[in-house]
């Protein structure tokens, strides 16, 4: 943390987005996390992606639970909505918020403890509902706020700062979500914004549950030799399985791709993701193939990154529930709550 807040002074020639905002307009309060925390880099990538997507800050809703990761929504987009919920319960609250107003961009930020331990049930069911949100899991393999115990994502055999070895197998959120048929599953690294920012942009454009597992080293408790979530280890073992270039709506695909190597996928808003295979055999739109690839790569000690599984066109929660087009939040009160007489009539139907 720092005693002084980041000064408001900015580079005079900062680029502006379609709304006339600079990237500085998407910043939040000063981070109180440890200096060098991967989470701060992810915050910065979210800021950059929201800026590049020209999202009006007041159309963003930031959702989080409890943990170091869950503090970070305070550090971006001050001018947006947000709620810091109970530990592991962010998906339920996000579901409620989304049910009331599907027109906002929901960005959930969670951690490996919040999502894979106390909140695992909540997390997986939000995936099943295909809740339209971006879900960023800041994954550092330890419980930082409680001084560095292994979390549910700690790898077998990885060492804690004080030397003990983890003996329980990890929950791999990427494999878990691919097996569940999540519609957008990606993995990245806090130290690689060139990859992370386009992924967040694509996730924001994706309709449905867009999940990004971001390896985010804990500089205080998990950045030592023997850690499998350190900066050094991640850089050594990360393996790009699939490049994903984000192309905004109405923009031409400029880059030249070799035939067969690139696959443009159009999203519902007209933007496109150009998937480029780093590994010839891999098809990120084939669930079984993707799952097989990921299990093998992980067993071989690799950390596959990139957009690892993508399924467009699956109905999201509102389509599944057949909700009206007008958000409940803006609908006339008499329509949302037609009164006890109408309730009585509905109840009568079940008697």
């Amino acid at each position: 943390m720092s005693y002084i807040a980041k000064p408001k002074v900015a580079h005079p020639q900062l680029p502006k987005n379609d709304l006339g905002f600079t990237v500085r307009d998407y910043e939040g309060a000063m981070s109180t996390l440890c200096a060098g925390c991967g989470h701060d880099s992810i915050t910065s990538a979210i800021i950059q992606a929201a800026f590049e997507q020209s999202i009006p800050p007041h159309r963003l809703a930031k959702m989080s639970g409890i943990g170091c990761s869950s503090k970070t929504p305070a550090y971006f987009a001050s001018a947006s909505h947000g709620i810091n919920t109970v530990h592991g319960r962010m998906p339920a609250v996000a579901t409620g918020a989304n049910a009331a107003n599907p027109d906002l961009y929901y960005v959930g930020v969670s951690g490996d403890g919040d999502s894979l331990s106390i909140g695992l049930g909540q997390f997986l069911h939000a995936v099943r509902r295909n809740l339209n949100m971006v879900y960023v899991l800041e994954n550092n393999g330890v419980y930082g706020l409680t001084k560095g115990q292994f979390s549910a994502s700690a790898d077998l055999g990885s060492k804690a700062k004080k030397g003990e070895t983890n003996q329980q197998p990890p929950i791999d959120p990427v494999q878990t979500l691919v097996s569940l048929g999540a519609t957008f599953v990606a993995r990245s690294f806090s130290g690689d914004k060139e990859q992370l920012v386009p992924l967040i942009r694509a996730a924001l454009a994706h309709r449905g549950f867009a999940f990004i597992d971001v390896i985010s080293p804990c500089v205080t408790f998990n950045d030592h030799e023997g850690s499998t979530k350190s900066y050094t280890f991640t850089r050594k073992h990360a393996h790009v399985a699939m490049y994903a270039d984000y192309v905004a709506p109405a923009k031409e695909i400029r880059a030249e791709y070799a035939a067969g190597a690139a696959m443009p996928v159009t999203l519902h808003d007209g933007s496109r993701i150009v998937l480029r295979k780093a590994d010839g055999a891999y098809d990120p739109t084939d669930q079984a193939a993707a799952f097989s690839y990921l299990t093998k790569a992980t067993a071989a000690g690799e950390i596959p990154t990139g957009l690892l599984y993508l399924k467009t066109g699956r109905p999201d929660m509102h389509e599944l529930a057949n909700t009206p087009d007008v958000p409940l939040a803006t609908m006339a009160w008499e329509k949302v709550c037609p009164g006890s007489a109408t309730l009585g009539k509905i109840q009568d139907r079940f008697r």
Binding site: P7, K8, V9, H11, L14, G36, Y231
Partner: protein
Amino acid sequence: MTSSSPGVGLPPTDIRNPDYFHKVVDCQWACPAHTDVPGYIRLIAQGRYTDAYLLNRKSNVFPGILGRVCDRPCEPACRRGRVEEKPVAICRLKRVAADHADESYRDQLPKPATKNGKRVALVGAGPASLTVANDLLPLGYDVTIFEALDVPGGLMRSNIPSFRLPAEVLDREIGDIVGMGAHLRLGHRIESMKALLGEGYDAIFVGTGAPKGKELKLAGRDDDPAHVHIGIAWLESVAFGHIEKIGEKVLIIGVGNTAMDCCRTSLRLGAKDVKVMARKPRQFFKASPWELEDAEEERVEIVINRAPRAFVTEGGRLKGMLFDVMEYEVDARGRITAERVTGEQFYPADDVILAIGQENAFPWIERDLGLEFDKWEVPVVDPATFQSTRPGVFFGGDAAFGPKNIIWSVEHGHQAAISIHRHCQGEDLRDRLPDGQNLQTSKMGMHEWAYSNNYDPAERRLMPHVSLKERFQKLDVEVELGFTAEQAAAEVERCLNCDVQTVFAAKLCIECDACIDICPVDCLTITRNGTEDDLRTRLTAPADNRTQALFVSEALPQTGRVMVKDEDLCVHCGLCAERCPTAAWDMQKFTLHHPHAIDHAPAPAAPRRFGT
């Protein structure tokens, strides 16, 4: 994963070369005397005015004088002027140090050592000669200053009006130097270099300035010579009380700083309607913007695009001047590509003052002394040693390379004093000490720095002026009142502490991006190396100011990429260093060692250091 081999790219920046960090301190680099500006501003902030004065004096010798009338090359260079609009009021803060330093500063001036038996003659008692005296007296030299006028100071005294530079300030700072034991021969014009050479001095320094105002040879020039004045000669006559009046309508020809002094002086001698006539549009004016502002505040009219054609007289009495009305074509880079005359216009005048430049004049130097002059009758002087073609004779100030300004004269004086010392000791003039640097961490604790690192968004303070009515009462009412304590306290916080350098240790970096994310002005980037042209297109924020360096680190341990810093807009807030988990960044106070004569002298005359 981005990883890349070092490949083709810039070599790591050599921060051991003192020039690299010196250039980052824009003000200090721009100052001919390399005054430690951020250093003295911090001392003012701490209320240590006397220390601030002494730190100034070490480089620029005349803080009280220069705090009022310096050409301030530091201010256009100031980084604050790029980050926002207006630079720090560096010059006027210098005056704050001079105004508030207590008399005890004199106890800390270098003490004259025992005489070393060497005699040096200085011709002219202007800033260059006085600086030479200031540097040589403490080393034990016997210094004699010859001055044609009855008072010392040179053009500082005769050409700068007292409403800008009061006589007391001149007397005090010149007195400090003469008080070290110089022999000051006033009213003693040197008429012959040959004769002076015959007097057996070990070295002679010529600091006679550029005392000749340029003439404007146009029709009618000599028809009424009593009402057509040469600017610098006229200012001198005013300064010494020989001229006390001028006509109601005055035209000033030329638009440099001398013209500004002439127009403002005219207003104090009874002129009611003063026009400054400029040949070209405003962007081509030679006068400093603040001098133009001060003149316009006094209701002087500046007329552009008027080229003088003839003086108009009637019956031997000046009536005015005829001008060509000019029109210019300016290209995209701001240069004039064509000019034409579109008409003519007459401007009535009772007096005309010519302020179109000045020249050196050396009628007193015989041409058979082995002292070469070039085709413009300017002596041939070595730009590093300031020695003429005759060993033992040195030139400095305007006398050396034509009109510049006081602060350049001071630096010439410092350099000439080194040469004179080495000459007198029989040492090679070219074997001079190089600039050196000292870097010391500013870290005081987890989040504590030895400087005020937060960015203060305050705007530049305005200098309070005496009211128009009051200032015209007398010739010597000083117009600028100086900053109040509150103004000074606010202005010092605007300084960005550019001397507290961001020093990077590549081997400690884990490439977590923390510094890049926190930098308020986006000056940091981790990327693969490349040529400068290439790198400048790949940085976090636009890096179009090529006058400012890019710092490039050694290859980083994990990916082989490099850390690049665009020095242009760094506000030296230290957040990169605070956010760095491995202390790869540190904020280190840079101190320049720019050697003077005293540093060339054998111990025990070690340089004094003031403040940190």
